[in-house]
């Protein structure tokens, strides 16, 4: 059984993002990149699935040479091989999905893991688009997964609760926080990853349907308010939460 996991290489959420001089992209200087946090759950689930069902895990990432760092991390965690789909250009989610779907087909993977969203552009759609292009079943925002033969039972997070769904292979799963506890890349794993190969290919071409016109900084956060330090502050707090913040 081939298991694929797609990872994106994104700015660390702790770095301060600066908008580039063109006004529609991120200035990459001084930004540190990491494996997309949701993809870490995807990698862990792929490895657990392999440990349970056998087979091998291939990591696929679309982007530039810099993405190899994230692929290498997945290899150090225990994935078997990596593929870098090279493309220097900006793609929309459909373009990304097209390239990934092509490679997943190439690999013959029947179980495919994604993070539920990538924390750079936050479109939350690449997994679904890829599934559609491949004609695979798809379950999103998954917090629990069981695969038994051809049968797939997944729990997914929905507003205010959980939904349990059943589907069958081949399937695309998008991972939510809580699905598992990602392992560390052990030092042994890091050394072993040195001997694993990352295959480099040109990404399948795609045209963009979505164009980024410009990027804007969010409005600065309003400063916090301290209403008091004992119980007498509670009524006012409740009033403000209700009337101003409108959260209760």
């Amino acid at each position: 059984m081939k298991i694929a996991v797609c990872v994106s290489h994104v700015p660390d959420t702790a770095t301060k993002v600066i908008i580039g001089s063109d006004g529609k992209s991120i200035d990459p200087s001084g930004v540190t990149y990491v494996v997309n946090p949701y993809d870490e759950f995807a990698i862990e689930e792929a490895l657990k699935t392999k440990e349970q069902l056998g087979g091998e895990v291939v990591v696929i990432s679309l982007g530039t040479d810099a993405n190899k760092e994230s692929i290498r991390k997945a290899l150090a965690m225990g994935a078997d091989s990596g593929v870098l789909l090279k493309d220097e250009n900006q793609r929309d989610s459909f373009g990304v999905a097209k390239a990934l779907a092509e490679e997943i087909k190439n690999q013959g993977a029947e179980i495919v893991f994604f993070g539920k969203q990538s924390v750079d552009y936050d479109n939350s759609i690449t997994g679904q688009l890829t599934a559609e292009l491949l004609g695979y079943n798809c379950v999103t925002v998954v917090v629990d997964l069981k695969i038994d033969g051809n049968k797939v039972i997944a729990e997914r997070e929905i507003e205010g609760g959980r939904e349990v769904v059943e589907t069958s292979l081949p399937v695309v799963i998008t991972a939510q926080k809580g699905l598992n506890e990602p392992r560390y890349a052990s030092l042994k794993g890091i050394m072993a990853a040195k001997r694993k190969t990352i295959e480099e290919k040109e990404a399948a071409p795609a045209e963009n349907y979505v164009e980024i016109l410009r990027m804007k900084k969010p409005a600065p956060k309003q400063p916090g308010k301290i209403l008091g330090s004992d119980a007498s502050a509670v009524p006012e707090l409740i009033r403000l939460l209700r009337e101003e913040a409108k959260v209760i």
Partner: protein
């Protein structure tokens, strides 16, 4: 000249940083306050592969270069000095001499166990009356038949008396030369050997979650084969072990300075006085600029020393310089970091308070700053 890190080195830094922040940071304050060594966290460090990092795989190591190991110590020290100490002492002082000077049999017997994080090995050099002057060593070992009989005591020995301490390498005097000079010999002694007592030392100002011990040898008998290296090789083993150890103490200084600096920078941007963040006052901003510069210099010096070692070049002078410089800037940076925190920096609630205490050992352990200057001055021909 190539300042790039390898892919592995980048990954090691990330992994160890993540581990230190997620596993060690939440417990560091409490362990420090209770003065408690944690076998659990030590095991976790072992599971990650931090023990025996530079050893070949056949002994249970990871086959990594010196710089990778130093990066790992630095990243632990960025979060907590005690745990960096457990790691650095075990690798550089515990595992090091056995790997470099042990017989194949000794290596097979001890190294795989010592790479797991389930056991620790110590290096017993310092004595109550022999600190900087290790020639003052009084602990003796006499060969009687097929056994060494050891008598004497050691003090301040890291990792010597934890629940998981397996043994230590002891510096002894085994006789005198014709000119009356002491003959030094190192011997391996396992914990639990009759006549050997290891006692935990309490009341430390710093490294409170690291195990520090007094060792007593009272007619302690070990097999003749327990000698490490040869009779009379003790000084050489000690000196080369300390050369390596200096790199890891330097890494502890560098990491501690980095951690203190990051805390100070963050605090200075958040703390407002006179209507603006204190980082906007030039005197605070320039303090932070100086801290950043010192850390950069320290890092370059230490990494160069590691590079020399990895190239198989002589590195002892640079190791002494790195130990001296990194530990001294750790003191300056931690001091300024407390200053930037104002009164809060003096409270245990803030980690910077612990960093301020932890840095103080670094100018004393494994050769005081005075002794490092002595070593460097000899290398430059004074």
């Amino acid at each position: 000249m190539d300042f790039n890190f390898t892919e592995e080195q980048i990954l090691i830094r990330k992994t160890v940083r993540e581990f230190a922040e997620q596993e060690i940071k939440p417990k560091a304050k409490e362990l420090d306050e209770q003065e408690k060594f944690s076998p659990e966290l030590t095991k976790r460090m072992g599971d990650l592969g931090l023990f025996g990092m530079t050893l070949p795989e056949k002994y249970g190591g990871q086959g990594m270069d010196t710089l990778s190991y130093i990066i790992a110590v630095e990243e632990l020290a960025r979060v907590d000095g005690s745990h960096a100490a457990t790691l650095a002492a075990h690798n550089s002082l515990g595992i090091g001499p056995i790997y470099y000077y042990g017989t194949e049999e000794q290596k097979q017997k001890y190294l795989p166990k010592l790479c797991t994080g389930e056991h620790l090995w110590a290096f017993g050099l310092t004595e109550p009356n022999a600190g900087s002057d290790s020639r003052g060593t009084k602990t003796t070992a006499k060969l009687e038949g097929n056994e060494w009989v050891i008598n004497g005591s050691k003090i301040f020995i890291t990792n010597g008396s934890a629940e998981i301490s397996l043994g230590c390498t002891v510096q002894t005097v085994t006789g005198k030369t014709e000119e009356g000079k002491k003959i030094f010999t190192t011997i391996l002694v396992e914990n639990g050997t009759p006549g050997f007592t290891a006692k935990v030392m309490h009341g430390k100002m710093m490294w409170r979650a690291s195990n520090t011990s007094e060792l007593y040898f009272d007619n302690c008998r070990v097999p003749k084969e327990n000698i490490l290296g040869e009779i009379g090789q003790g000084s050489k083993i000690m000196l080369s072990t300390l050369d390596n150890g200096r790199l890891s103490i330097a890494a502890m200084g560098l990491g501690l300075a980095q951690g203190a600096y990051e805390m100070a920078l963050k605090y200075a941007k958040e703390r407002e006085q006179f209507g603006r963040p204190i980082s906007k006052f030039q005197i605070i901003a320039f303090k932070l600029a100086d801290m950043a510069m010192k850390i950069e210099l320290a890092r370059n010096l230490l990494y160069k020393a590691c590079w020399l070692k990895d190239q198989g070049e002589l590195f002892a002078k640079e190791a002494a310089m790195a130990k001296l410089y990194c530990s001294e800037i750790a003191k300056e940076v931690a001091d300024d970091a407390v200053q930037i925190h104002g009164g809060y920096g003096l409270m245990k609630e803030y980690d910077v308070e612990r960093f301020y205490r932890d840095q103080r050992l670094l100018q004393i352990g494994e050769g005081t700053s005075e002794i490092q200057r002595l070593v460097i001055s000899r290398y430059i021909g004074c």
